[in-house]
């Protein structure tokens, strides 16, 4: 997408300069127009920072409160989305303990907690879609604390 835009811009500038060349000079002085090709630069440093910060955020059992360690990554993602808006999806998940439909609700509540944080930072809520998978899509298999910890999460996609 960025490349296409850059190409279009270049083409426009070239046609402009060609049009300039075709005019008949009225005196001996030829005005050289600036025909240097302009490039569009997207600031990717913010997105790099967001990607490096990770896009999975973890939660405690039966809780939907953001953890302190998620904050930096969420701030980076929020900045990236404000600088370069795009549609994202927040997928909420729960561990296998407890009932499936309650866990669906819990997964949604977690994804909503992430969404609210990002909206507070200034991200347009229209860009964020929330979906819960409850306990249907485990990240780690096994019925133990470490697997459950990995599964109580929200993934930003």
């Amino acid at each position: 997408m960025k490349n296409v835009k850059g190409f279009a811009l270049t083409a426009a500038l070239l046609s402009l300069s060609l049009a300039g060349c075709s005019t008949v000079p009225t005196d001996d002085t030829t005005v050289i127009e600036d025909t240097s090709v302009q490039t569009v630069q997207v600031d990717t440093t913010i997105e790099d920072a967001a990607a490096a910060a990770g896009s999975v955020f973890y939660f405690d059992f039966d809780k939907a409160v953001l953890k302190v360690e998620s904050r930096a990554a969420l701030l980076a993602h929020s900045s990236a989305l404000m600088a370069n808006p795009r549609s994202v999806r927040l997928e909420g998940h729960a561990d296998e303990r407890g009932t499936r439909e309650y866990n669906m609700a819990l997964g949604e509540r977690r994804a909503n907690a992430v969404k609210e944080f990002m909206v507070l930072q200034g991200v347009s809520s229209g860009l964020i879609e929330v979906i819960s998978y409850g306990e249907e899509r485990a990240a780690s298999y096994g019925s133990n604390d470490s697997a459950w910890e990995m599964n109580r999460r929200v993934e930003l996609k």
Binding site: T99, E101, Y102, M104, A105, E108, I131, Y133, G142
Partner: protein
């Protein structure tokens, strides 16, 4: 990854499928302390070729109830087919209390009649004689009807062997999920595939006439509620809201579904009138409200809510929308399933640190843990109230298990492969 185009979707006509093998294998792990000793003599076939061993099916049904122990065929001195052929003394020395004899005869080219008798060995008399008729593909139906009749005569409780269970299986094949919605007999036989998808399938709920299932499918990339007819495979998407579309529960009159929508920002209980397609919001609270289930009067719903801080069971008056908390013991009580007596609830209860199925008496408020496994969920009570089936884990695999409502009888229905979960016991079908 979530596009509906990519989700493999396959609906199978229940009647068209003919696979007789089953994914479920049943093992009784605990029976009643003093089971009734019954002998089921092999059914005389009178030259008729059938694929099923009717006597074995009846024996299996009765044993699975936990209330019966069966005399093995190898111990039997004779295989009588009618009451006249019975020498009571032969059976008394084996300790037999009741004896079942039967015979299959052809009525015409396609129909057969199964005549059977229940005999009281101690009293040396016939208790009843009965006949059931059907075609060759209905031999299992005939056997289960026979079990129903015998069970009811001896226990006084209506038999539920002719009912079905719906359940979801999930398999991971090369990193990809395959979800299946299946229906089988309660002994696991005659499993039929209703729906197959790469996206989650959840929360099957029977219509009260046993002809339709409502369930949640993610095939569109997000959860939506569908209904599907078992016989015609006719299928209809009922909801398409943003957020949760979950936990459908069919009303006792069959005209409405209670369900969960979070389109207002958080999960609320709604009622969908199936004829008018009108939705009525029933709860209004910022907490999680989910897992509605109807009470037999059709005027009240039970549901799970964490409005008090932890998930607990609440009762809702549909007309007044008034809500009353029912459970207080423990920090996790959810997913109520009501027994047909309208009084006993089966629910998911968190004990010290594990999740058990417990029964809860709505009148006395007594809560009793029924299961000893952990990670137990999705209890569903048989329409006769004798047993409940639930989902649990064996190792890392999801399996179905059953327990009687007095916790005296248990059995496991392990799948041959993959995870089995979310059982739903059908209503009486005839």
């Amino acid at each position: 990854m979530l596009s509906w185009k990519k989700s493999l979707l396959l609906i199978v006509f229940l009647l068209a499928s003919s696979s007789a093998w089953s994914e479920l294998v049943i093992r009784v792990t605990q029976g009643n302390d003093k089971p009734t000793i019954i002998a089921v003599s092999p059914i005389a076939l009178n030259g008729i070729q059938i694929d099923e061993d009717i006597g074995r099916i009846v024996e299996g049904d009765l044993k699975r109830s936990g209330l019966f122990a069966a005399i093995p065929r190898t111990d039997m001195l004779a295989f009588p087919a009618t009451a006249e052929d019975v020498y009571f003394r032969d059976w008394r020395i084996l300790g037999t209390e009741y004896l079942v004899v039967g015979s299959l005869i052809a009525i015409d080219d396609s129909r057969y009649q199964l005549d059977f008798s229940l005999l009281n060995v101690t009293g040396q008399k016939a208790v009843f004689e009965h006949s059931v008729r059907g075609t060759k593909v209905q031999m299992r139906d005939l056997a289960h009807l026979m079990s129903d009749k015998i069970y009811q005569e001896i226990t006084g409780i209506r038999g539920a062997f002719s009912t079905r269970i719906a359940y979801v299986t999930a398999n991971r094949v090369k990193g990809k999920f395959i979800y299946k919605l299946n229906v089988s007999d309660t002994d696991g036989a005659r499993e039929k595939l209703m729906l197959e998808s790469r996206e989650p399938i959840m929360s099957p709920s029977w219509s009260p006439n046993g002809k339709d299932l409502a369930y949640v499918s993610f095939e569109t990339g997000r959860p939506a509620i569908f209904r599907q007819n078992l016989v015609t495979a006719e299928r209809q998407q009922l909801t398409n809201f943003s957020g949760l579309n979950g936990a459908p529960s069919w009303s006792p009159d069959g005209e409405k579904l209670a369900l969960v929508l979070s389109k207002d920002g958080n999960p609320e209980i709604y009622m969908l009138d199936l004829a008018s397609k009108r939705f009525t919001r029933l709860t209004r609270h910022f907490a999680i409200d989910t897992e509605p289930t109807w009470m037999p009067d059709g005027k009240h719903l039970l549901f799970t809510s964490d409005r008090g801080g932890t998930p607990q069971i609440y009762k809702l008056n549909v007309a007044s929308k008034k809500v009353q908390r029912l459970t207080f013991r423990g920090n996790y009580n959810a997913r109520a399933s009501l027994a047909p007596d309208g009084r006993t609830l089966a629910l998911v209860h968190r004990g010290t640190d594990v999740f058990h199925i417990a029964s809860f008496d709505l009148i006395t408020g007594r809560l009793i843990e029924l299961t000893e496994t952990r990670l137990d969920e999705s209890p569903t009570v048989a329409p006769n109230g004798a047993m409940l089936i639930y989902a649990t884990k064996q190792g890392d695999r999801g399996v179905l298990a059953a327990v009687s409502l007095d916790a005296g009888v248990r059995y496991v229905l392990p799948a041959r492969s993959g995870d089995v979960r979310e059982p739903a016991w059908s209503p009486f079908l005839r």
